[in-house]
Symmetry: C2
């Protein structure tokens, strides 16, 4: 059985390598299309009809790129060349006359160069012959430094840094990268309420897309007020997004709004002699495939999972964005959580790497990512996780210099004590929370910097930057000891929130404490202490955003508090569902009433009712209930530690690079199949498990080795 | 007289300030349009019909820009807004709904912000009200860092670096910067030779523009072979630029070629049934105004001046380029000479600053300018001269950070002895010359670095970067002493060419020696020694490019060798004229014969016959014969030291920021009028000059103070 499976995998690998070599795809300088696309996307935000761009530096693609690859052909072949931009083609350094659409490459070993200039779009090429095809094995540079000296042409190739080309899934010569649009599906409203000049269209749940008006006729104005809530749609002055049309049409015509919007309700107000037959929408979505899943004996949890999944799907677009109504931007802290959810739902690594590249932009670094200090650090943490879940080293080797320069920027902004403190232009965010002090040196920021430097050390090793490994290890270790010497308060049994003027403040907040738990920075004693003194202590300021609840509940899960967390999930996410939420919110404070829930940032409808960070149950249920997580990069090894947390049963899938791990668990039986690596199933059982060989690791804790390709059915008795 | 003049100037200044305040112009982030335009221009080069782009990094504009200015209005006014890109408008921080084309600004003090996103073109705005108008007093940034914290909107304006907007002369709302094209004038050929399917069109002299074919009819191909020489046009395989058209037209039609080209001759070859009525051209030129001028008793010199002027005009385009046939690129070393010529002909400071900005591009610096080490240094030297001639401090204060990062790049590439030595990817150019060694540490490069650091110290003072002043002064002074301790050879009485493996080489070349003369790095004794041991020594390798002849002759002029230089000019530039040149060449070696003159880079017609660096007589005659040059920035003070160099008489104009200085000189009389600053006329005379008060400075040398607005007629007796 095992051997047969390996053989099948081998066949599969060979088949995919062969097909990979012959399948042409559009390629570009890695990171450039990602930046270009994010510029397109982030500049689609409007507020009350006004263009609302970001307030940090955005970068651009390199406009002049050289692509090359060497091929060895057994016979001559005809090769077609497509490009976005003006281009030339060289064979073994000699240019073809003009701008050839096809070239003939003779048999033998040959180097093909294509050089492209494009200002408005990303220089990209698509090359298709029998064996000569464009893919991410081509090398690219933005400066070929190929000069002519007195001796004739001198190509100083060693001076040029060549990267592997970037690509995605643009495999059609006729559809170059610049034409990419998310797909749409026509959808009809669930209900329509009409009055004289008003029509309130309800699409039944939170959704996203382009409103389409059918059969418009007459003269006058049509105003559309979008609402994630009915109240918002009905508030002509308060609705955050609107569309205003001027119409003068004797014949009926249809009209699709130019920008996609978030809404459940649309309030259409007509003026003049306007008539409109009907209103529908084009639902716009990212074509990502669901792979993970979760079902259990508790229907409210199932409903929470479904709404989280839908919330996450709506916010997974060209990039992982924060929320679909606003800001529709790529925010590093928000995206970081989306990466983690993604590993348990889509395992779409392209959306992760694309988002990270868009966030990073280019050198020089002139400010923190999204202007927020913590958001810079989450970017590093995202790379750590990306590598752990996907095992992709290429991303790190290609972009290590961008990691390096961003880290140098941070290190250059430490204060005299080597700590991060807000400087002019830095936004210390942490969380939306009342009276959260950002003064002095905040412990949470030091903690994130420390983890970021650990990530640098890890990546420096992969990028073969040996002196950096030592440097960052050293820096991280120094900062970690400072963290405890400066912020740990023995009386409070907690890390305090900050130091101001060289003195510990009295304030204890959850942030640094909960992160230190799943970063494993605490001793076991400290962990237990902090659980009581902070996490389960109602005197410590409560968290009201799903954003920080993510980490709070993660910390509790990491300490085995799945039963407590399950109740919290039902209270908090269940609470939103009870208020009629069809997607999860940017913030939820159970003490608020009615339309109070819609307000934020001093605006009546300022709050986003569909925010990616609201979808964290996807992650928590996959990682801490099904209990699957990688222990070495790319799931070469991993652990499965199912935890029912009070459920009768649960089942689900967790995606990995090689397929999905399937887990079923009730109080007596655990079933596992896995297509990847070698796992360790950790079973807490009153009795020695049956169905596979197990090793007793401590009282009532057994470990069972999981080999890929085999099915496991383990009998046990839940504690 | 004096007082009246001052009063007139005051009126003029007030009038221009007023008109400036009310005249709207398109504005952008400074440097960005310059980069964008150079990308457009430099990617127009073709070779044998093949797109031929540069081989270094090219940068792009920032795609998202915030523009703002505060105005105080006595009454409300209507303001029109135009933008290249998607934009929003804010009044005192509050956005207008939608994308307003006009806004009303109330009376009182108000801040107007316009924020623009544009990927393909440079974000630019044109704002026109009665008093609210866009000009270079608006402030701009690419990152406004205006974020919202818990307390509501927090605009951390201090964190943002605001620069003054860039502008040029785009004063028409309907003609945004992206639509700019150089003007064209239709021109007819001087002669046409027809055979069966060939037509050789001669435009009478070197020219530049778009070929236009009139009355094309029939089916088949038209091939155009461009030639700066007749030989080139007639060489279908050798012509560097070509155009190939496929025609199938029953009715007569005209066709203008898509790209402008350099040529005197065009060889049109038709195939099939093609007929063409006639061929003309659209002459394309930069609309710069001639201000300087030179005439003298020697007609050959006058002819040299005229051809130099025409050569320079052809190469003065959107930017100062190297040559019009090829490369049509902005090369820093070439451009540096054009700046200097420009100060004596057009005094068009915009073309200088535009060229310097295009060359510099943006951070990060990843290679030398044009990949050439010396060309990086010329960029610094260009700024030194720009400030000296124009007095423009704004350029320096705005772009000092780009000077700084480029210099840091250089300093980071010094070897262990603190010297510049070619590293991987660096091109040490110096000059096109046979067997010119680039090994080890070349003295010429250290010299240029030294001068560049002196420029840094000067500019740091203007930019108020005090610690940099000290730092760069110190570095320059250290390097200067190294220069002499390492390269000065007492036996040879010269700076040697290089040091290899820590040892002086035996080779002496002209480069470092001649630059040290006009940099004033030598003692008077060294100068005299070097004149004999190097400059006038025929055993030292001769210079065959006008590029380095520029400096060679400048050094000789600086030492008073005008008579010798005049003969050299007549030999060298006169030599080209005798060969029928209608513009000056990239290289001229009098020992070559016939069509040998057209070859270069191993190609039969590789040489450019119209190269900017061929135009240096403009500079030499203005600076060293008319003898006018600024001694403090912007001609606040200056010297006029006429030197006939054997001419009977000469007269001319030298432009300054405030108008043209006019000089007439024969052996008995000097006439001067000047509109600017305070000058010193230096007269070498056997007798005490008459007509103005003079001071005897040394034997036969008198100084006369020149006040602006007065006319001087000085009697003297030439030595």
């Amino acid at each position: 059985m095992k051997q047969k499976n390996n053989f099948l995998i081998l066949i599969f690998v060979l088949a995919s390598l062969t097909s990979q070599a012959q399948k042409a795809t559009w390629i570009w300088y890695p990171g450039d299309y990602e930046i270009w696309l994010s510029n397109q996307m982030q500049n689609r935000r409007t507020d009350r009809g006004t263009f609302f761009p970001v307030f940090w530096k955005v970068d651009s693609h390199y406009v002049l790129i050289d692509f090359h690859k060497e091929f060895t052909l057994t016979q001559p072949e005809e090769v077609s060349i497509y490009a976005e931009g003006k281009y030339n083609v060289k064979l073994d350094g000699q240019p073809f006359e003009g701008t050839p659409k096809t070239i003939t490459v003779p048999a033998g070993k040959h180097k093909i160069n294509v050089k492209v200039f494009c200002q408005e779009n990303v220089p990209a090429i698509y090359v298709k012959g029998k064996t000569v095809t464009s893919d991410n094995t081509w090398l690219v540079t933005f400066e070929d430094k190929e000069w002519i000296d007195e001796t004739g042409k001198t190509s100083d190739i060693t001076a040029t840094k060549w990267l592997q080309a970037g690509s995605w899934n643009f495999n059609d010569a006729a559809k170059p990268p610049s034409t990419f649009k998310l797909p749409v599906i026509p959808m009809k409203p669930a209900a329509v309420e009409k009055t004289q000049n008003n029509r309130l269209i309800d699409f039944g749940k939170e959704t996203f897309g382009f409103i389409k008006l059918h059969g418009i006729k007459g003269k006058g104005n049509i105003n559309l007020y979008y609402g994630e809530s009915k109240n918002e749609a009905l508030s002509e002055k308060g609705a955050v997004t609107i569309d205003k049309l001027q119409i003068a049409s004797a014949a009926k015509k249809d009209s699709v709004m130019p920008l996609s919007k978030a809404f459940r309700y649309v309030n259409m107000v007509t003026e003049g002699t306007i008539t409109v037959d009907s209103v529908s929408m084009l639902y716009e979505y990212a074509d990502v495939k669901k792979r993970g899943g979760f079902r259990c004996s508790d229907n409210e949890i199932n409903r929470i999972y479904d709404v989280a999944e839908y919330t996450f799907h709506l916010n997974t677009r060209e990039f992982f964005i924060d929320g679909i109504k606003r800001d529709r931007w790529v925010w590093s802290g928000d995206a970081y959580q989306s990466y983690l959810m993604n590993y348990y739902l889509y395992f779409d690594k392209e959306t992760v790497s694309r988002t990270m590249l868009a966030l990073r932009g280019k050198d020089p670094v002139t400010g923190h990512i999204n202007t927020i200090m913590d958001y810079t650090f989450y970017w590093f943490l995202g790379i750590y996780d990306y590598y752990l879940y996907t095992g992709d080293k290429t991303f790190i080797t290609q972009f290590y210099p961008r990691m390096q320069s961003l880290m140098e920027y941070c290190l250059g902004r430490r204060n005299k004590d080597g700590l991060m403190e807000g400087m002019s232009g830095d936004w210390i965010f942490i969380d939306w929370a009342d009276k959260l002090s950002k003064k002095g040196e905040v412990s949470f920021e030091q903690l994130l910097l420390c983890r970021s430097m650990e990530t640098m050390a890890l990546c420096a090793a992969i990028a073969n930057e040996k002196s950096d490994v030592t440097k960052y290890k050293q820096l991280a270790s120094e900062l970690k000891s400072k963290l405890f010497s400066i912020y740990w308060n023995e009386n409070k049994q907690a890390l305090v929130h900050s130091r101001v003027d060289g003195k510990q403040t009295e304030n204890v907040t959850r942030y640094a404490n909960m992160f230190s738990i799943f970063f494993n920075y605490f001793t076991p004693q400290q962990k237990d202490a902090v659980k009581k003194s902070v996490l389960l202590n109602n005197n410590i300021q409560k968290i009201t955003t799903p954003y920080m609840r993510f980490y709070e509940l993660e910390a509790l899960c990491a300490m085995g508090e799945q039963s407590y967390v399950l109740k919290e999930m039902k209270d908090y996410w269940g609470g939103m569902l009870q208020l009629g939420a069809t997607s999860f919110w940017e913030e939820y404070n159970p003490t608020k009433k009615g339309a109070e829930h819609y307000a934020m940032y001093g605006r009546e409808f300022g709050k986003s009712l569909c925010h990616a960070w609201g979808a964290s149950p996807i992650y928590l249920l996959g990682k801490y209930y099904l209990g699957v997580s990688p222990t070495t990069p790319g799931y070469e090894t991993y652990s499965i530690q199912p935890s029912l947390g009070g459920l009768e049963w649960m089942e689900g899938k967790v995606p990995t690079p090689a397929g999905d791990i399937e887990v079923y668990c009730n109080k007596k039986e655990i079933k596992i199949t896995s297509p990847v690596g070698t796992g360790i199933l950790i079973v807490k059982s009153k009795v020695k498990p049956t169905g596979a060989e197990s090793v007793l690791k401590m009282e009532n804790v057994y470990e069972i080795k999981i080999e890929h390709g085999k099915g496991y059915k383990i009998g046990y008795e839940a504690l």
